[in-house]
């Protein structure tokens, strides 16, 4: 085998892409339509959108189809598409309290204003496969419409009852239960990681933006490590809400707010155990973290909120015991972006013939050296050097 620099392979690359397309359809099943993916694979579409940092459900469905269900690849496609469009403005700041909630739960307080609604959730089901799903046809669609009408009836629609509720953290703030996040130098605009390089320590707005587009699995793994013993997180869910969030922009002529539609979104606040912060003159409070994602993405926002809380605790120096990698902001933010991480790992599939040729030459020299050291003379010299160093 020779190790040399190469070029070429364009035809093979084109045919490889062709083969992917063929294999996707050769099974003979009906090609997937985008509305089917958007409606019936909601979580895959949500994940592509929040990790791709672009809210566009139908395009996300296209990305999921093109990536054949690979969530990181789908997010990559969306993020790449995003770079082809100009950004014309930022929305007016919107709070989760404007959300029309379909789901709202708290593990901290039993009685929250407006009550708790489980909404669309499978958390409480036994994980058994449902064979009936394998044989669904149009009758299932009709039956779903009837069941939905029955649910609406059971929920008793009332004028003006659209699902808007105060945030549980508002009550906690009033009661001075929440630790103040560390003060930061004032900025006119929140940090934008798509325009400015991240430097550490970074503003909390940069941390939240980076985690909002981070890989769900990476965030979950680090959040889990911190709760399991490689850290100091003791989380309790203050509130998790999912629903429709209206988005407003400023009218370019008058500046007045203009609503441009609604997006599906999930957000969570998670409290960590009480502590007395660094200023022991202040009464103990809870440290609370925040998580947000497009679509219905509960593990993502909970993991993000846990990490936000851990990183704030690390910043104010109130961590107890082992801090673990989840408390290192640079480690967390630079290793949880799925697109960057997957790109770096995947690039090792590309030819590295020149690099490896250099490695081989180093290996040859190391082997020669090793053989020399194995000779009688080499062993005597090594022995003499070792005893000399003592």
């Amino acid at each position: 085998m020779g190790y040399v620099a190469v070029r070429g392979g364009s035809e093979a690359v084109a045919r490889a892409e062709e083969l992917v397309e063929c294999l996707r359809l050769l099974g003979g099943s009906t090609p997937l339509q985008l509305p089917q993916i958007r409606d019936q694979l909601r979580h895959a579409v949500s994940r592509a959108m929040h990790e791709g940092a672009l809210y566009a459900p139908l395009l996300a469905a296209l990305a999921v189809k093109q990536a054949e269900g690979d969530s990181i690849e789908a997010a990559f496609l969306l993020r790449a598409y995003r770079t082809t469009l100009p950004r014309v403005m930022a929305s007016l700041p919107v709070s989760g309290r404007e959300m029309f909630c379909l789901r709202r739960i708290s593990a901290s307080f039993k009685d929250i204003p407006g009550g708790q609604m489980l909404g669309p959730a499978t958390d409480y089901l036994i994980r058994l496969l449902q064979p009936a799903l394998a044989h669904e046809d149009v009758r299932a669609v009709i039956a779903a419409a009837e069941r939905y009408a029955a649910l609406v009836e059971a929920g008793k629609p009332q004028p003006g009852a659209w699902g808007r509720f105060p945030k549980v953290t508002e009550y906690m703030r009033q009661e001075q239960m929440i630790v103040d996040v560390p003060a930061e130098p004032a900025r006119e605009e929140p940090f934008d990681i798509t325009r400015e390089p991240l430097t550490f320590p970074c503003p909390r707005s940069a941390r939240l933006q980076a985690m909002a587009q981070a890989d769900t699995g990476s965030l979950m793994s680090l959040a889990y490590s911190s709760t399991r013993g490689y850290g100091d997180a003791h989380p309790t869910l203050v509130e998790l809400r999912y629903g429709y969030l209206p988005v407003h922009v400023a009218h370019p002529l008058t500046g007045e707010p203009v609503t441009i539609g609604e997006i599906e979104a999930t957000e969570a606040e998670i409290a960590s155990k009480a502590h007395s912060v660094t200023n022991h003159a202040e009464p103990p409070r809870f440290n609370v973290g925040y998580g947000f994602a497009f679509g219905q993405s509960e593990l993502k926002v909970m993991s993000m909120a846990i990490l936000d809380s851990v990183l704030t605790q690390a910043r104010i120096g109130s961590l107890a015991g082992e801090s673990g990698p989840a408390a290192n902001e640079e480690f967390v933010l630079l290793h949880t972006d799925g697109i960057e991480a997957s790109g770096f790992v995947a690039h090792y599939k590309l030819p590295h013939y020149v690099t490896f040729a250099a490695d081989l030459s180093v290996l040859d020299r190391a082997r020669d050296h090793h053989a020399q050291r194995q000779s009688r003379l080499g062993q005597l010299v090594d022995q003499a050097l070792t005893s000399d160093s003592r």
Partner: protein, 139 residues
């Protein structure tokens, strides 16, 4: 209470386009001058986080935007998603509703009707979720 822009951006696009068609029927074809669009662009979503109520950039939203003049009156339309007809209809209606002397006042009752239908849809949407409300038993 839903605002006019909320009603028009969240109502079924074909109904909003029908309203815009009514407006356009009162003008010559050359009364409309496109300034920009309809075009797909991005809007950065600014969220207020729930802990300290500070603002951060949460990701971008694909929108369609149209800016035009209708008989010299500026109109702006923006809607989430790819829908050039809806965005242009919003711009036409924005211009029509801003005209001095309110010559399109007859649009307002139609918009109010759309608002009532949207409110009813929201009430039904929430009622389905409200059916899953938890009633805790305390031991």
């Amino acid at each position: 209470m839903l605002t006019t822009s909320h009603i028009l951006s969240c109502s079924p696009p074909h109904l909003v386009c029908a309203l815009a068609e009514q407006v356009l029927a009162r003008y010559d074809r050359d009364a409309v001058t496109f300034i920009s669009g309809p075009r797909c662009v991005l809007v950065q979503l600014r969220m207020i986080e729930g802990v300290a109520e500070t603002v951060f950039n949460a990701g971008e939203i694909l929108v369609t935007e149209t800016r035009l003049e209708l008989a010299g009156q500026f109109g702006f339309g923006m809607v989430i998603g790819r829908d050039p007809d809806h965005a242009t209809a919003l711009a036409v209606l924005d211009a029509a509703l801003r005209m001095p002397g309110d010559p399109h006042a007859d649009l307002r009752p139609r918009i109010a009707e759309l608002g009532q239908a949207l409110s009813a849809a929201y009430e039904r949407r929430f009622a389905a979720a409200a059916a899953t409300r938890v009633e805790f038993e305390t031991f």
